[in-house]
């Protein structure tokens, strides 16, 4: 076995480390801590954050890659050309359960009629039994409903048990501060806790109740059906989460160096530096975004086609392609944030504390790094969380146009792309589409709600638009 660190893996793990470091910093600074507490006290944002964290967990599980050592005759070590992730290992059974073609969710038979030979040797056209889905049933017609109900029920109970365990854990945690178990439970039920724990608990319980039956049914059925080549749709949807996350997170991150550096420089120095930087970003933003991205992606494609021996495995190739896509999205998308940072810097540089620093003879670089950059970070943060969801939606469109991620890679875009043809079949193949829809809307909605929470906490002006119905008792206005 050999661990493989793909480029996007590296970027994702670095990103996770950076987020942890930021959390550490938040903990140390009273100011930042208060603002983030405001985010976490907002029930909608807190729940959305929890959902995002769950998606992040899937992503990280899918970002530990390895290649298996293959047995060879002469004892030398040869590695499998397929790169597997920890998530693949977790879902190994589902990946191995490969059927021939389409099958309905929880189906036991194929979706298309085939010529089948029965015991007497006569050929008739019927739906073939699936090789794996419901294969343990002797007579699906009579046993299927019972079996599915029993397994789903077990899963539901398991989910409920997990939710109750979680509730107990939370109450146990609260017990000390709320004076015993009973008042803690009462406070939790009446939403009288510092953080909206009741809402978080309900969110997690909903997730557990959904996941329970799915996990219970997974070993013997294709819960979301199979696609044209017989692959489990649920596995594809789960693996698409990573692609979406990588695109959403890394692309915004790639915009930051340009946006912040150039924005601060333009705002601080003014004059011809400002003019030049403004010219560059106006030029960039004058080209319709999709066209610019398409042009850059085409060039990367040409470069890859010209240098096919740069990569050892297909996974490395499609991975680097995705990283390039992120960089391109970053390179073409920094104008908006740069404009904001420039405007903010123009305002900041006239403030007394910056003037005082100048009077004390502090150097330009030091002023920009110590006094200006930290004070534009709230803009950066708001932009990062806001563009995360936009980019996930954008990926789908780009993949549809043909300039998105590699077709070999699982992504919501490629799922939707295939779904287009499937939805025009008769009878309609809807489950791939439904799975992509469910997961994508879940992820994007959570990201949007979380972003709103962050924006409201960091930008007082946006709180005007907040509905009063959402305000919790005890939470500050």
């Amino acid at each position: 076995m050999k661990f493989v660190l793909l480029w996007t893996d590296l970027a994702l793990w670095l990103l996770t480390a950076a987020v942890l470091a930021y959390a550490w910093r938040v903990k140390a600074h009273a100011n930042l801590r208060a603002t983030w507490q405001r985010v976490l006290r907002d029930p909608v944002a807190a729940c959305a954050g929890v959902v995002m964290a769950l998606f992040l967990l899937v992503t990280l599980a899918d970002s530990l890659h390895l290649r298996r050592a293959l047995p060879t005759a002469d004892g030398s070590v040869v590695y499998d050309t397929r790169t597997l992730s920890a998530l693949d290992l977790l879902l190994a059974r589902q990946i191995a359960m490969r059927e021939v073609s389409y099958s309905l969710p929880l189906g036991t038979h194929g979706f298309n009629k085939e010529g089948l030979e029965d015991a007497a040797g006569a050929v008739r056209r019927d739906y073939p039994r699936l090789q794996f889905g419901g294969a343990h049933l002797a007579d699906p017609a009579t046993q299927w409903a019972d079996d599915v109900a029993r397994r789903a029920g077990t899963g539901l109970l398991g989910g409920l048990a997990a939710a109750l365990a979680l509730a107990t854990l939370i109450v146990a945690g609260l017990a000390r501060r709320h004076g015993g178990w009973r008042p803690a439970l009462a406070d939790l039920a009446a939403d009288r806790t510092v953080y909206p724990l009741r809402a978080i608990l309900l969110t997690l319980a909903a997730v557990l109740l959904l996941a329970g039956p799915v996990i219970a049914l997974m070993p013997h059925y294709h819960v979301f059906g199979t696609d044209r080549t017989g692959n489990d749709v649920l596995v594809q949807a789960l693996k698409s989460v990573r692609t979406a996350f990588v695109i959403g997170a890394l692309s915004t991150l790639a915009t930051l160096p340009f946006a912040v550096l150039l924005g601060v420089l333009a705002g601080y120095y003014k004059g011809w530096v400002d003019e030049a930087i403004q010219y560059v970003y106006t030029t960039l933003s004058s080209v319709p975004n999709v066209l610019l991205i398409a042009a850059c992606v085409l060039m990367v494609q040409v470069f890859f086609d010209k240098n096919p021996d740069l990569f050892e495995t297909a996974a490395e190739r499609s991975d680097l392609k995705m990283l390039m896509l992120c960089l391109i999205l970053g390179l073409t998308g920094w104008a908006g944030l740069c404009r904001l940072v420039r405007a903010e810097t123009l305002k900041l540089r006239e403030l007394d504390y910056v003037q005082a620093a100048t009077a004390f003879g502090v150097g330009d670089l030091r002023i920009m790094a110590r006094h200006i950059a930290p004070n534009v970070m709230h803009l950066v943060l708001i932009t990062v969380v806001l563009s995360f969801s936009e980019l996930i939606l954008y990926e789908a469109v780009l993949t549809y146009i043909g300039v998105g991620v590699d077709p070999l890679m699982n992504s919501f875009g490629s799922m939707i792309n295939l779904a287009r043809a499937e939805m025009s079949r008769d009878p309609v193949v809807w489950w791939s589409f439904a799975a992509a829809f469910g997961f994508m809307v879940g992820l994007v909605l959570a990201a949007n709600l979380f972003a709103d929470g962050v924006r409201d906490a960091f930008d007082p002006k946006s709180r005007l638009a907040r509905s009063r119905l959402l305000r919790r008792r005890g939470a500050d206005a």
Binding site: T283, P288, A295, L298, M299
Partner: protein, 327 residues
């Protein structure tokens, strides 16, 4: 005024030069004319002779940036960069690299008309519907209608436009059979082909737009002139319709104006999904066919339209707010 126009023109020209230079370097440094020839001729074994012929036919048989073999000004003018740039600025777009029969300029003229038929009604409806919806939410602000309206907006903007298209096509064209699935016909027949894409595009953008406008209106609502208007005894509808709407027009124009280039360029996704032969579909064909001449032309055209629409937005500012002067 004249100074303003001249400065705007000069800046626009500078941006166009920048865009042109940028795309040229992007395309030709990675992808030399030889590569393009090989790609377009196709097949495994391409002779140098074929490549030379391909290049001569398309005028790519010159150095890229600088010709040391020539004398004087010809060193710069006898290059691909110079010739391509000059023809672009003269709006002579030449022919497609892949298919010589396609005259890009002619194609753009025809297809832009088609794109306009889809995008212009859409643009107008978009502004009206989003503003109306946002005003409705603001009228009922801090009530349940507002709350659920915002929830609806967030939900709508979390759904990819591709989902709207696929579900919409399935529902209206396949199940209800109200409109054809896709295709296009010139003249009045176009209406039945365009109805569904317009409706779906409207829906897919409504969430984001309405929420944005709602926030703009709410910001205006906190200002003094609103209180004065109310103190004069004006009804809430009148305050919103006459005072708030007018004052919020500037940010609305800015935001709606950013769509203006796409009114002419068309929508890539919607046109290709509905089989509408507009500019958007043209671009997708060019991208999938790796036709760089067309992509480069469209990038240039996009920048041109962006500059033009920005000028239009500035003029619109003076029109809605007499205090704004062009200078």
């Amino acid at each position: 005024m004249l100074g303003f126009v001249l400065r705007r023109l000069g800046y626009g020209l500078a941006i166009l030069v920048g865009v042109n230079l940028f795309t040229f370097i992007l395309f030709f440094s990675v992808n030399t004319p030889d590569d393009m020839a090989r790609l377009n001729i196709g097949g495994k074994r391409v002779t140098q002779e074929q490549i030379e012929k391909w290049k001569t036919e398309r005028g790519y048989d010159k150095p890229l940036y600088y010709d040391a073999g020539k004398a004087g000004a010809q060193r710069v003018t006898h290059t691909i960069l110079w010739e391509r740039s000059v023809s672009l600025f003269a709006l002579d777009f030449g022919r497609s690299d892949a298919r010589q029969a396609i005259n890009i300029g002619h194609e753009i003229k025809v297809r832009m008309g088609v794109s306009l038929q889809l995008a212009l009604p859409l643009f107008i409806l978009q502004v009206i519907v989003s503003v109306a919806f946002a005003l409705l939410l603001v009228f009922f602000r801090h009530s349940r209608i507002d709350f659920w309206g915002v929830v609806l907006c967030v939900l709508m903007l979390s759904i990819s436009s591709l989902f709207y298209i696929i579900v919409g096509q399935f529902l209206f064209a396949r199940l209800l059979k109200l409109v054809p699935m896709n295709g296009f016909a010139p003249g009045l027949d176009a209406a039945k082909f365009l109805a569904l894409p317009i409706l779906l595009s409207l829906l897919s953008r409504l969430g984001g737009e309405a929420r944005l406008y709602r926030a703009m209106f709410l910001e205006e609502m906190g200002k003094d002139y609103v209180r004065t208007a109310r103190a004069k005894g004006l009804s809430e509808g009148r305050v919103l319709g006459r005072h708030v709407l007018r004052n919020a027009l500037i940010p609305i124009i800015t935001s709606a104006g950013s769509y203006l280039p796409y009114v002419f360029l068309g929508s890539l996704v919607f046109e290709s999904f509905f089989g509408i032969p507009g500019l958007g579909a043209f671009v997708i064909e060019a991208i999938t066919g790796q036709d760089f001449a067309i992509v480069r032309t469209m990038v240039f055209l996009g920048a041109l339209l962006y500059i033009a629409s920005n000028a239009l937005i500035d003029i619109a500012y003076t029109w809605v707010d007499p205090r704004v002067r062009l200078q």
